[in-house]
């Protein structure tokens, strides 16, 4: 997916440089706060401050991402909602990671630009954004496949006894079960599916519904 084409692998840092700077940095303005409050309270306040700031950034990221995604969706005409969602998730993850990276930079002694870039690329790649997006893409593109129903659920669908009345179509011709292709005979038992009212032999439709909860004729999914 093109949207995930973040900075490349060129700046991948060595393992040691990451581990040394990887303690999560909490307390950007902690020193100022300590002057006024006791250490315990200051920690709570700074945690709260960062939680709110994180949340704000994620919301901003999600909004920008959603808008971009929606535009892509509209332009490519390939699923407006899908692209909006992908954009929102991408945006929020991106903003959150940039924020985390900036904080790490703030607290690290090594302020070289190369190191900054390496950190950005490493952190963005390390959370497997590409993988996450791939999973979303897959679930969206799958054609819905109905799961089999439970025996109890199948038994809840009303049974019908074939009579002279319901075994004929509008033009008075005998109708047949679309599964076994045999005509309905008087006295046989059938099932008429909810909503679509498509009718099949009891034994034929039950066998199907247990493995695939949809109408064989119109594919309406039963739950």
């Amino acid at each position: 997916m093109e949207i995930c084409a973040y900075p490349n692998f060129l700046f991948l840092p060595s393992a040691s440089s990451i581990s040394s700077s990887f303690s999560f940095p909490i307390g950007i303005s902690a020193e100022k706060v300590i002057k006024f409050c006791s250490p315990g309270v200051s920690k709570v306040i700074s945690n709260l401050f960062f939680a709110i700031f994180d949340f704000f950034l994620i919301v901003v990221g999600a909004t920008i991402g959603a808008m971009t995604g929606a535009l892509i969706g509209l332009k490519t005409q390939r699923g407006f909602i899908r692209w909006t969602l992908i954009g929102a998730i991408n945006g929020s993850v991106f903003f959150f990671e940039v924020f985390k990276t900036l904080l790490a930079l703030w607290h690290s002694d090594d302020g070289e630009i190369e190191f900054f870039l390496s950190l950005v690329s490493y952190q963005l790649l390390s959370i497997d954004v590409v993988d996450q997006m791939g999973a979303i893409e897959r679930t969206f593109e799958e054609v819905p496949r109905a799961k089999g129903l439970s025996r109890r659920r199948v038994d809840e669908i009303p049974k019908i006894k074939i009579t002279g009345k319901n075994a004929l179509d509008a033009s008075g011709e005998g109708i047949s079960c679309s599964i076994c292709l045999q005509d309905f005979q008087l006295g046989e038992m059938g099932r008429s599916l909810p909503y679509c009212r498509h009718m099949f032999h009891l034994c034929c439709i039950d066998k199907w519904l247990l493995v695939h909860g949809s109408c064989p004729l119109c594919r309406r999914i039963l739950t």
Partner: protein
């Protein structure tokens, strides 16, 4: 267990209107679990004029499981393997429904010949060619139709009869036709030079 009553009924109904649809299904052996389907190449496509044979095997769960179909005639198409004849079509996989029949499935295969889906290929080489050099694709597909889908065993008897009527002995006609791979004109040429 395959529902043989249904398969019988399907064969009867499919072969009843073979004149209209051009789609034929017949048992390959005595068993009704191995069948041969034939579809004409759709008009206005590189497959026009060809007759394509499809090998059909019915699994035990038929009609609750899809029939296994693959081309036994070689075809040049993005969604059909040029090597094995395997078909990439959703209704033959997870979109199968027991309300579909061998005839409707074969109709879908015929529709697939008219409308290739290069974005979901079975044969990557063909799909690449379809997308990048469409004209080459068309001529290759047409050539394959000429070469593999027109010398079917369907018209052999007619060809033999025609050549026998011209005055050639039947045994010689049959052996010559076999040598040239069923091409009537080549056979005539060869018979004349003998």
């Amino acid at each position: 267990m395959v529902d043989f009553a249904r398969v019988q009924k399907e064969l009867q109904e499919c072969n009843r209107d073979v004149e209209v649809s051009g789609i034929k299904v017949s048992p390959k052996a005595d068993k009704l679990t191995h069948l041969i389907g034939t579809i004409p190449g759709p008009l206005g496509t590189p497959y026009e004029g060809g007759t394509f044979e499809i090998d059909i095997q019915l699994p035990d769960g038929y009609p609750f499981e899809p029939p296994r179909m693959q081309f036994s005639t070689k075809v040049w198409h993005p969604n059909i393997s040029s090597q094995s004849g395997a078909i990439c079509l959703d209704i033959l996989k997870d979109q199968w429904s027991p309300a579909l029949t061998l005839k409707t499935a074969l109709l879908s295969v015929q529709a697939l010949l008219s409308a290739p889906q290069p974005d979901d290929p079975q044969d990557a080489v063909v799909a690449q060619q379809y997308l990048r050099e469409y004209q080459t694709f068309v001529s290759t597909a047409r050539y394959w139709t000429e070469a593999f889908a027109k010398t079917s065993s369907l018209g052999v008897e007619e060809k033999v009869q025609k050549l026998v009527e011209m005055g050639f002995p039947e045994a010689l006609v049959r052996s010559t036709l076999e040598v040239v791979g069923g091409d009537e004109n080549l056979a005539l040429e060869k018979l004349c030079t003998v």
